[in-house]
Every structure is written in structure tokens, then in C-alpha cells.
């Protein structure tokens, strides 16, 4: 098989996107969406066919040299190693289903060309991140993802709230991008290359302090894209975009990019204990924070958004405790069930007649049993119900964290377990509020189109069964994914401990479920307690930012504007101008049109010259 075919994987969506950009507005609606679906599914087929190329060391192919100057080289090259292969397959697969879903969801929209073009470009940019063999090319995709997310989150830009959500996503992730860009330049100055393979092979040469700095910078970049503390505030607002976009951002692209970057640079990251601890800490704290916020959210998509943040936190924790396979495993299962949940949520919103608030839903189980069962699968996976994919992947991470031993990681493990309990609670709360109880929605909903509905079962199946990919030994599995990624096997804990931990997890899961069952089995009425609004607003994160960042920034800006620009610069300029004007009024009188007066000027000049000569000769 020609390895160059690998390039078709990103190029197909690019091609689809470019065609839609150029001609989409003149093409019929169905052709636009069909083209974009075809492009992405073509990538998916290719990724499947070319899977063998990713085994072992992987395949590296270069299409052409992008930038080349003395000592610096960046190619448009692809590194298709096991990690990239898994990621590519997941991205293209999930993206294909989401595209199909979007074709149904956006059937009535007025500018499908823009939507599908951006969607395709989004996938293209993500594939650049996944496949790039050097950091500069990766950075190109990284920025592309940022741009496309901006365009898609603010897709319905006529509503200023949506537009500002898009801007927020763009700006907040841009802060992370800055860290990544610094790391990129620093890496180049340290190694003289931006090739991922070469950097990873030569990390041992580096000074530990430098390594820690680089790791923290990469973490900063990853935090921005993956919506981790403290750069998380854009993600809940990103719900302003159309539902397929949310699904794409949360499942296949964008937020997983940060995790993927850390996995890609794992040989570098893993050498810095401080950096690893920071990654784990950020992950665990974000997981807890987001789960707590999800407890009180009212909008269905915001609940899911916070759950995404929380699950990505688990992935960071996994990277931080040193298990790339755990992170990738959770990334895969999460991608499947989160896409399922979001697309399910889209169906739910259609069923509820465009209602977003879960307190105004309810009783949808009778209305559409199919949606209920599919959504239930997603919820079960999210909550970590035993034997679903989400259970195994989450469990693997927590076990590794526990096995890491010392007090710090044990605390993180504790946070993880607590978060698992919270996750279980809010998942079932969502389920109960939406599907059980009495119908509270005002509008008359309509059933989702078949195209939307039929994209869900494959995801449900995948979400349930991905656990088999990396089944731990305890359950008689062989950790196939870990083998494929060439990662070391998880440390074997004593079987008794492991069973005990699993049991603990189970207790937390059941506990969350039971509390949710008791409280939300029947609708409890609107809840407006103070701590709820605190959680609802995401711990007042926006207000905190307002206080500690925006206010000082605005103050500085106002100072620069009023003090610097207006008072100082304008003042000086206008003062000078006024001075010139004022004096000019006097000087103007010199130009009185009298020839004699001008001649006198000559004479004075002559006197000056003669006087000068006289002075010079006297000396």
C-alpha cells in the first residue's frame, strides 16, 4: 500500500471544505451536505484501510518540504504511528457519524455551505494535529481548530450571545496557544528541530529544569484547547453552537487535542516529575470542579459540557500518572459516548420543541423510547456503570493513580473517586429529569429525522463495547490497546486490592445513582438555592475572571486610553498643535506683504552673518 495515500486522509476533508467554501452557496442543500459527508467518510475508509501502516514504529511520509532554511526544516509530513492511527480512526469515524447527523440536523438551515465547509475544515485541522510529524505542522492544525471552533460556535452569529461565545472560545484557547507557541520555539532552540520523533528521542539530553518549564508550557497549551483549569470557561459557553458542532468539539476534535498533544510528547513530559504532578493535579481538580458544576446545571447541553470537562480532567490525570494507554482508552470511550450523548441531546431538544432547560422537559420516555434507550446507554457509560466502556477506562486511570503510591497521588485518586460518585449522580439526574416524571415542556416537539436517529446506534454499540479494547487482566482481557500503543502494561496490584478498589468504585456509582433516584425520580420542582446558583455559574468562574483579570485589564486599558493615549499623546500632540496655532498667529503677522519689511529681514540676516564673522575673527 502506498504510504502516500495517508495524505488523502486530511486532504479529503480539506478538499470538501474548500469546494463548499468556493461553490457551496450555489449548490443544492443535499449536495453540500452529501459532499462533506462523503469527504469525511472517505477519510474514515482510508484510515481503516491504511491501519496496518501504523503498527510498530509506524510510518513516516513526507509530501514536500514546507519551510527550509539553514538548520531549520519543517515538512508537510505525516507520522502514522500507533497513537496517531488510533486517534485518526476515532476522529474520522466519529466525525463521519456526526456529519451524517448534521446532514439531518441542519436540513432546514439557511447557510449549509458555510456550516459544512467549516465542519470539514475542522476535521481537516484536527487531522493535521493528529498526523503531523513535526510540531510546526501540528501547530498549524492547532490554530486551524481554534479558528474553525470560533466560526462554528458563533455559527448563528445574528444572536450576539452566540457570537460572543465564539469569540470567548477563540480568545481563551488563544491564551493556551501562546504557551504552546513559546514551548514550540523553546524546543526548537533546545534541539534545533521541530520533528516530534527526534525531539522525543533526544529528551534525555535536556536540563531537568528546562524540561519542567517545557512541560508546564505544553500543559498550558493543552489546558487551553482541552478546557482545563484555569482556561476552562469557554467550553460551557461553546454550547451556543449547533448541536453537531458541540458533539464534534466535545467528542472527536478540539478538546481531545490537548490530551493528544501531551500523549504525543509523552517521552518529554514524563521526564519531569514536577510537570507530571502538575498535569495530574490540573486534571483531578478540573474533574472535580466540572463535576460539581454539572450538578446544578439546567441546560441539557451545559450538563454535558461540564461532564466533558470533567472527563478530560480524568484523561489529564491519566497522563499525569504516566499511563498514555489509560488516557487514550478513556479518550476513545469518551469520544463515543459523548458524541452519542450530544447527538442524543440534539434529538431530545427536537422532541422537547426546542427547549434547552431540563427542568422544563420530562416524560420524554413515552414520547420516544428509541431516543430514551440510546441516551440511556450514553448516560450509563458516562456514569461509569460496570462493564460499559466508560467504567473500564475510568477504572484503569484510577487504579494507576492509586498504584502510583505516595500521598499526593493518593489524594488525587481520592478526588477521582469522589468525582466518579458525582458523575454518577448528575448523569442520572439528567436522565431522570429529561425522560421521567411529567411532561413540563411548553412547545410541541417533533420526532428527530431518521438520519439523526440512525447515527446513534453505532455509537451506542461502540460506547458499550469499547471496554473490550483494553480489558484488564482481572476480567480476563489482554489490554490490547496498551499492546498496540507499545506502552508498558499497568502495574499489577494485588488482586485483592484491585477488587477492593473496584468495589469502592461501585459503591460510589451506586450511591450517586441512588441519591439521584430518590431525589429526581419524580420532579422536585424548581430549585433555586444559593449554592445551586454558585454551581450553576461554574463557581462564579466568569465573575472571578472578571475580578482578577478583566477589571485590572480594563483599568490598565482605561489608563492607557485616558492617561496614555488621550492625556499624554493626544495632549502633547494637541498641545503642540495649539501652540503652533497660537504662535503661528503671531508669526503670520510677519508675513504682512510689505516688501520693505521683507527686505529688512534680509538686512537683519546680513547683520547676523557679519556679526558672526566678526565674532569668529575676534576670537
Amino acid at each position: 500500500m502506498n504510504p502516500l495515500l495517508l495524505f488523502l486522509i486530511p486532504i479529503l476533508p480539506l478538499f470538501g471544505g474548500v469546494i463548499n467554501v468556493c461553490f457551496g452557496s450555489r449548490l443544492p442543500h443535499r449536495l453540500v451536505s452529501g459532499l462533506s459527508v462523503a469527504a469525511v467518510s472517505g477519510s474514515f475508509l482510508l484510515a481503516t484501510l491504511l491501519w496496518p501502516l501504523g503498527s510498530g514504529e509506524g510510518t513516516r511520509v513526507v509530501l514536500f518540504s514546507w519551510l527550509k532554511s539553514a538548520g531549520f526544516q519543517a515538512d508537510v509530513g505525516i507520522l502514522f504511528d500507533p497513537l496517531a492511527a488510533v486517534m485518526t480512526l476515532m476522529v474520522t469515524g466519529v466525525a463521519t457519524l456526526i456529519h451524517l447527523y448534521a446532514a439531518g440536523y441542519m436540513a432546514e438551515d439557511e447557510s449549509p455551505a458555510r456550516f459544512f465547509a467549516l465542519l470539514n475544515l475542522f476535521v481537516f485541522a484536527m487531522l493535521c494535529i493528529v498526523l503531523a510529524d513535526n510540531l510546526l505542522f501540528l501547530f498549524l492544525g492547532w490554530e486551524g481548530v481554534g479558528f474553525c471552533s470560533y466560526g462554528l460556535i458563533g455559527f448563528w452569529y445574528r444572536n450576539s450571545k452566540n457570537a460572543s461565545a465564539g469569540r470567548k472560545a477563540f480568545i481563551v484557547t488563544r491564551i493556551g496557544d501562546l504557551f504552546f507557541a513559546i514551548a514550540l520555539l523553546w524546543l526548537f532552540s533546545a534541539f534545533g528541530t521541530v520533528m516530534i520523533e527526534q525531539i522525543n528521542a533526544r529528551v534525555a539530553e535536556l536540563d531537568p529544569l528546562l524540561l519542567t518549564g517545557l512541560t508546564l508550557l505544553l500543559l498550558g497549551g493543552a489546558c487551553g484547547k482541552s478546557a482545563q483549569l484555569p482556561l476552562m470557561s469557554w467550553l460551557p459557553d461553546a454550547m451556543a453552537g449547533p448541536t453537531p458542532v458541540s458533539a464534534l468539539i466535545h467528542a472527536a476534535t478540539m478538546v481531545t487535542a490537548g490530551v493528544y498533544l501531551l500523549c504525543r510528547m509523552f517521552p518529554l513530559v514524563s521526564l519531569s516529575p514536577t510537570g507530571m504532578a502538575a498535569i495530574a493535579l490540573v486534571g483531578a481538580l478540573t474533574a472535580l470542579y466540572a463535576a460539581s458544576c454539572a450538578l446544578a446545571q439546567r441546560e441539557i447541553k451545559r450538563v454535558l459540557a461540564y461532564s466533558t470537562m470533567s472527563q478530560i480532567g480524568y484523561m489529564f490525570l491519566a497522563v499525569g500518572v504516566g499511563t498514555v494507554s489509560g488516557a487514550m482508552f478513556h479518550l476513545l470511550t469518551h469520544a463515543f459516548f459523548k458524541a452519542l450523548l450530544f447527538m442524543g441531546a440534539g434529538c431530545v431538544i427536537h422532541l422537547a420543541g426546542g427547549e434547552n432547560d431540563i427542568y422544563r422537559m420530562g416524560g420524554l420516555k413515552e414520547k420516544s423510547p428509541q431516543v430514551f434507550w440510546l441516551f440511556l446507554v450514553g448516560i450509563l457509560c458516562l456514569a461509569g456503570t460496570p462493564l460499559t466502556g466508560g467504567f473500564f477506562s475510568k477504572d484503569a486511570i484510577l487504579l494507576t493513580a492509586f498504584a502510583a503510591g505516595d500521598g499526593f497521588y493518593a489524594t488525587l485518586w481520592g478526588i477521582g473517586v469522589l468525582t466518579a460518585g458525582l458523575t454518577s449522580f448528575y448523569s442520572f439526574r439528567l436522565l431522570y429529569l429529561v425522560f421521567f416524571g411529567t411532561a413540563r415542556q411548553a412547545g410541541q416537539g417533533h420526532a428527530p429525522s431518521p438520519l439523526m436517529l440512525w447515527t446513534l446506534p453505532p455509537l451506542a454499540l461502540l460506547g458499550l463495547c469499547t471496554g473490550l479494547l483494553n480489558l484488564p487482566h482481572l476480567f480476563g482481557g489482554h489490554e490490547w490497546l496498551t499492546l498496540w500503543l507499545g506502552q508498558p502494561m499497568a502495574e499489577m496490584l494485588p488482586v485483592g486490592t484491585e477488587i477492593g478498589l473496584l468495589f469502592l468504585m461501585l459503591i460510589f456509582f451506586v450511591g450517586g445513582w441512588v441519591i439521584a433516584h430518590v431525589r429526581y425520580r419524580t420532579f422536585p420542582g424548581d430549585e433555586q438555592a444559593g449554592w445551586r446558583s454558585f454551581l450553576l455559574s461554574g463557581w462564579q468562574a466568569d465573575r472571578v475572571y472578571e475580578l482578577i483579570l478583566l477589571r485590572p485589564y480594563r483599568a490598565i486599558c482605561r489608563f492607557c486610553w485616558q492617561g496614555g493615549d488621550k492625556a499624554l499623546i493626544d495632549g502633547v500632540m494637541e498641545g503642540l498643535a495649539r501652540l503652533c496655532l497660537h504662535w503661528g498667529d503671531y508669526v503670520r503677522r510677519l508675513s504682512n506683504g510689505q516688501v520693505a519689511f521683507y527686505l529688512q529681514g534680509f538686512a537683519w540676516g546680513l547683520l547676523l552673518i557679519v556679526g558672526w564673522f566678526l565674532l569668529a575673527s575676534v576670537k
Binding site: R589, L590, S591, N592, G593, Q594, V595, L599, A603, L606
Partner: protein
């Protein structure tokens, strides 16, 4: 040299200043031009004096050019005087102040 060069220069300086005084003091266009002529002649005297001092002919040549230039200047400026007089009916420079700022 019949007299020290300084004395020639003194004389020409006096003449030049007289011309300058005329240019500055008089309001009659004709008189101003006469002042200019005096100044030019003072310069000519300097050149001739210098020529005599160094016993070089170049100074005198300069005076010839000076004269040629003066005749050109006078012809133009007198034509201007005629023109200006035709416009305003006077040769008083105070009347011509259209360039007032």
C-alpha cells in the same frame, strides 16, 4: 597698490551700506532699485580692489559679469515697475501687499 586693501574695502562697505539704507528706507520702487544698483557697485569696487591686490584679472572679469547681470536685472525690474504702476497707478511699495498673511 596705491592704498591698502582695507581702505578699498572700507569704501565699498560704506557704499554698500548706503545702498542698503536706501533699499530699506525708501518706499519708492525706483529708489529701492537705485539702492540695489549702489550695492552692486559697491561689490564691483570690492572685486576690482581685490583684483588689484592680488594682481589677478579674474576680479575684473567678475565685474563685467556683474554688469551684464545688472543690466538684465534692471531691464526686468523696470519692466515690472511699469507693469505694477499700470496695475495700481503708483510705485509705492506699500500698495503692493497682496501676499499679506
Amino acid at each position: 597698490m596705491i592704498v591698502p586693501l582695507e581702505h578699498v574695502l572700507y569704501l565699498s562697505a560704506i557704499l554698500f551700506l548706503l545702498g542698503l539704507g536706501c533699499v530699506l528706507a525708501r518706499r519708492n520702487l525706483i529708489m529701492i532699485l537705485i539702492g540695489v544698483e549702489i550695492m552692486l557697485n559697491a561689490v564691483g569696487l570690492t572685486l576690482v580692489g581685490a583684483s588689484a591686490f592680488w594682481q589677478q584679472i579674474d576680479g575684473q572679469i567678475m565685474v563685467v559679469f556683474l554688469m551684464a547681470m545688472t543690466s538684465a536685472e534692471v531691464s526686468i525690474s523696470l519692466a515690472m515697475v511699469v507693469y505694477l504702476n499700470r496695475r495700481k497707478g503708483t510705485v509705492d511699495v506699500r500698495a503692493f501687499d497682496e501676499l499679506r498673511g
